[in-house]
């Protein structure tokens, strides 16, 4: 165990998996000697060389497309997209190729790989260094979509993702890259299972679903709600696709009230799917409307970032809404 940041957790996971498996390679812009603009791949090049830690030309479709080719061969590539806002040139490769290779070839060809990319706001990055793109990926069959909310999970989930047989989109909430720190196992075999949500706080009156940097916001809002005597349960989804539906339904069945929380813009966001599942499968347990707290339906702003991003007080308003309904 050592107390580390999420950046360090990612770095450790990569190093351990690269040590354990010669087929694991890292590629992307500035991942080599620069160690990634967030330092997630720091020093890997020293240990594994330029052949396994590859600085690529500036082309995201090239990065993902080359990784697909490597994965077809049998390598296990872990491409980094510098900011998830820049992943769109690669969207064709992701949705048309990576996600469908196994299916369309009748299982003859596969391309398991892990696309790592920092996402989300909170660093004053404006439009193009802040967006939360998860819903674009979760609508794409064939992808696994994973989002850790702390260093412990970041390491365990990334290691599991690298060992996964399916292509994984691994979204790293950059706002919590450098703080807080947390004790994380050093054990080579330590992984966190993909596909399982985690209850981060148990409660009886309402449920909040969250993921990534929003888990901490949900917990903070629950503290505030507790002052008013309301007991909140926080479900950290961790894997968005395939989703741990049971965990959500179980919690909502217990509490009868649901607030969903995401940073992304609201309309057709991931949280809408949660509403839809609950409205389809557990509507009878609901004692109040399902409230969504999210970013607004506008491009991510620079100066007003602090207004745009959901914070505990906004979540608390929604909790009040479902509790006093």
């Amino acid at each position: 165990m050592s107390s580390i940041t999420m950046v360090q957790a990612v770095n450790d996971a990569l190093r351990e998996e690269m040590r354990g498996d010669d087929d694991v390679v890292v590629l992307g812009e500035d991942v080599g000697i620069n160690g990634g603009v967030f330092r997630c791949t720091a020093d890997l090049i020293d240990e594994f060389g330029e052949e396994r830690v590859i600085d690529t030309p500036l082309s995201e479709s090239g990065i993902i497309g080359a990784a697909v080719g490597m994965a077809l061969y049998g390598l296990k590539p872990v491409p980094e997209i510098q900011f998830s806002d820049f992943i769109w040139p690669a969207f064709d490769q992701i949705t048309s190729e990576m996600a469908k290779m196994r299916y369309r070839s009748g299982g003859q060809f596969t391309c398991p790989m892990v696309v790592r990319t920092p996402y989300g706001g909170g660093i004053r990055g404006g439009h193009y260094h802040s967006q939360s793109p998860e819903a674009y990926f979760t609508h794409t069959p064939g992808l696994v979509v994973v989002i850790p909310s702390d260093p412990y999970d970041a390491k365990g989930l990334l290691k599991a993702a690298i060992r996964c047989e399916d292509p994984v989109i691994f979204l790293e909430p950059k706002r919590i890259y450098r703080a807080p720190k947390m004790d994380v196992p050093d054990d080579d075999d330590y992984v966190v299972e993909i596909g399982k949500a985690a209850v981060r706080r148990e409660g009886t009156d309402f449920t909040i679903t969250a993921y990534g940097a929003m888990v901490a916001v949900a917990l903070e809002a629950c503290e505030k709600a507790a002052e008013q005597g309301w007991s909140g349960e926080v479900v950290d989804l961790r894997t968005l696709l395939p989703l741990d539906e049971d965990a959500i339904i179980q919690s909502v069945t217990k509490t009868g009230r649901l607030v969903t929380l995401q940073e992304a813009t609201k309309f057709c966001g991931f949280s809408s799917e949660i509403s839809a599942i609950v409205a389809e499968k557990a509507i009878d347990v609901l004692e109040a409307p399902v409230k969504r707290v999210s970013g607004f339906d506008v491009p991510f702003p620079y100066t007003l970032e602090h207004v745009y991003m959901p914070h505990a007080d906004r979540v608390l308003k929604a909790i009040e809404g479902v509790m006093t309904y």
Partner: protein, 370 residues
């Protein structure tokens, strides 16, 4: 040889140009001829089936047989190929049984792709023939990535990727060649320049003097070859393959030919190019190669007749079998999305079977327009 000259071996009268002839044994030459003929006959039969409504769609490669067969012969069986939808000859050359191609076109239960893709979107892992997809150009960068992996693993194999003139405009032509140039990856970029992308002629596709010259933008040699001359194609590809295998990096190869037929069974080329294709009839690659074999006393009218009959019989037998097979099971809709079927897909499958039945029958009028 600059990237604007054009490499030729067999001259019009069937003679080889002095010193240009690659050193290939008779057996190989005849095998190449057979593969070209088989490609032609398979295409004709499948188009025929499509016209009769027995398969849904087809893409003929008529006139482009030399490009397919010459290039593939220059490669080893352990090399990885990334085909386009217009290179059935590669599959035949690599020894894929016609029954598999036929099954794919019927999309039936015997199809190795489980009836999931449209006809001609083949995949044969056993033969390192990578799954074809419809989006143009995406596979070019896959070939580069795979070649980077080959290099990393000190594999002696190389990669080759096939695409059209239209494909050179795609994003991943750019990334594919650029990454390969930088990585010195062992990959051949084989562009079948048949001068049309559906209705768009090459002049509207690019203003560059040739396709081959585009190699310079990526620091790699480009060669331009008469794509209807199977020996020239073989020769250029063999040299490029040797170069790649030696560690000298990628080559862009432009095979000049002409799309004689429609773009696909859904296309009507008279709408946009009149009878232009007729000019290419007497430049037919099979005719040309046959003349060469005859001049060299390796081929006769009798052999020709026998070959055609044998190949046709083989194709017909497979078509019969293919048509008789059933459609893929309902289950196949839900498998292979992931390595294991996740809970939500299991649920969807179970609901489908339990509540919903299989639904209405296929719409006989539904037809793919392209």
């Amino acid at each position: 040889m600059s990237s604007t000259d054009m490499l030729q071996v067999i001259s019009k009268n069937g003679k080889a140009k002095r010193g240009a002839e690659p050193n290939l044994p008779k057996k190989t030459l005849l095998a190449m001829y057979e593969a070209m003929m088989q490609t032609r006959l398979l295409d004709e039969r499948m188009i025929n089936l499509q016209r009769q409504g027995r398969i849904g769609f087809y893409v003929p490669s008529t006139g482009e047989e030399a490009a397919q067969v010459g290039s593939c012969m220059a490669l080893d069986d352990t090399d990885w190929l990334f085909p386009s939808y217009r290179v059935p000859g590669l599959f035949l050359m690599r020894g894929v049984d016609i029954q598999h191609l036929v099954a794919n076109c019927f999309g039936n239960e015997a199809d190795l792709c489980k009836g999931r893709q449209m006809p001609v979107h083949y995949a044969f892992a056993e033969h390192k023939l990578v799954s074809i997809s419809s989006p143009i150009g995406t596979h070019i960068i896959h070939a580069t990535g795979l070649a980077m992996a080959q290099k990393l693993k000190k594999d002696k194999g190389i990669s080759a990727v096939y695409f059209g003139d239209g494909g050179t405009s795609s994003n991943d032509f750019h990334s594919g060649l650029n990454f390969a140039g930088v990585a010195k990856a062992p990959v051949l970029f084989i562009c079948t320049n048949n001068q049309w992308a559906i209705s768009v002629p090459i002049e509207k596709q690019t203003a560059s003097e040739t396709i081959a010259i585009k190699g310079e933008a990526y620091g790699m040699p480009g060669v331009r070859v008469d794509g209807n001359d199977v020996l020239a194609v073989y020769d250029a590809c063999k040299k490029a393959a040797d170069r790649a295998r030696k560690g000298d990096g990628p080559t862009l190869i432009e095979l000049m030919t002409y799309r004689r037929g429609p773009h696909s069974s859904s296309d009507d080329p008279t709408r946009y190019r009149g009878n232009q294709a007729d000019e290419w009839l007497d430049r037919d690659p099979i005719l040309r190669f046959r003349k060469y074999l005859e001049v060299a006393d390796m081929w006769s009218e009798k052999q020709e007749t026998e070959l055609i009959e044998r190949l046709k019989a083989g194709i017909n037998a497979e078509v019969k079998k293919g048509e008789a097979a059933g459609q893929p099971s309902l289950e196949t809709m839900f498998t292979d999305v992931y390595a294991n079927v996740p809970p939500h897909l299991r649920e969807q499958y179970e609901n489908l079977v339990r509540d919903e039945g299989t639904g209405h029958e296929p719409d006989p009028d539904a037809a793919f327009p392209l």
